[in-house]
Point group: C2
Chain length 156, copies 2
């Protein structure tokens, strides 16, 4: 069984998005070990943006499992169809990578150091989403991927 | 002031998504006349898929304002960046199109007749979203577009 880990800087503040994320976390638990880790917020007011991004990045890097295959959401990353994403997860699994860690940056995005560590950079869309909405979209897509793999009717 | 109309077949069942849609509807009201019209659900169990799609399409076509510029969400449509979408809305407005109607299909998508009527087909992503999530993503993108036009900090 795959181990899916989601690392998010700061809790999901928008209540309806937090509910959606939690809904898909529970549904995904049918298919994989799922853990959502919310990192301590490093955004006290007054810090310059670059400093916030750097600290968020350091907190992420410090929490990464060395064995993890790291997928970072990045507007400059690859766009995939849902079927391709499902296939990609299958390829990783077949290659013996059983620990997948998904990273979504904060409002400022991920630091260059984190992007450099990522094994795969994924773009959800040409459109820009809020980082909190990206969390929900990501969870739904991963749930969709497992449904595609399992051949359920969810994705039809 | 632009008139923005959203036509959805059936109410948004997932409560957290309905809350998000309503949140952005309210926020958009600062920038435009906004109306979300939920069409009567034509999905009693047992109807074949083609029939449901056709009836949903007919209900949509019957409700369209003849003056409306119609934007249909369609996986086969054009993908735009958020900035391009904002620019496109500006182009329509400059061309005297003040009534924009956005269509999101039901679980089965929009009928060929509806897609044929559309002035613009928009794809949100190569990824497939549920039609209810597409509603939320669309509302947020339109809100984002107006923030880009207004030069607020929302989209930074």
């Amino acid at each position: 069984m795959l181990n899916l880990e989601f690392l998010f800087p700061g809790k999901t503040r928008e209540v309806y998005l937090a509910e959606g994320v939690d809904d898909f976390r529970k549904r995904l638990a049918r298919y994989a070990e799922v853990e959502i880790k919310t990192l301590k917020d490093v955004r006290p007011a007054g810090k310059p943006d670059g400093q916030i991004k750097k600290e968020e990045g350091e907190a992420i890097l410090a929490r990464l499992n060395p064995k993890a295959l790291v997928i970072a959401l990045d507007p400059g990353g690859r766009t995939l169809s849902s079927e391709e994403l499902a296939g990609q997860i299958g390829t990783w699994e077949a290659g013996g990578r059983h620990h997948l860690t998904f990273l979504v940056g904060g409002a400022l995005g991920l630091s260059p150091e984190v992007l450099a560590r990522a094994d795969f950079r994924l773009s959800l869309s040409r459109l820009t989403f809020t980082h909190e909405m990206a969390r929900l979209i990501l969870l739904e897509q991963i749930y969709r991927a497992f449904n595609i793999r399992a051949g359920t009717g969810y994705h039809k």
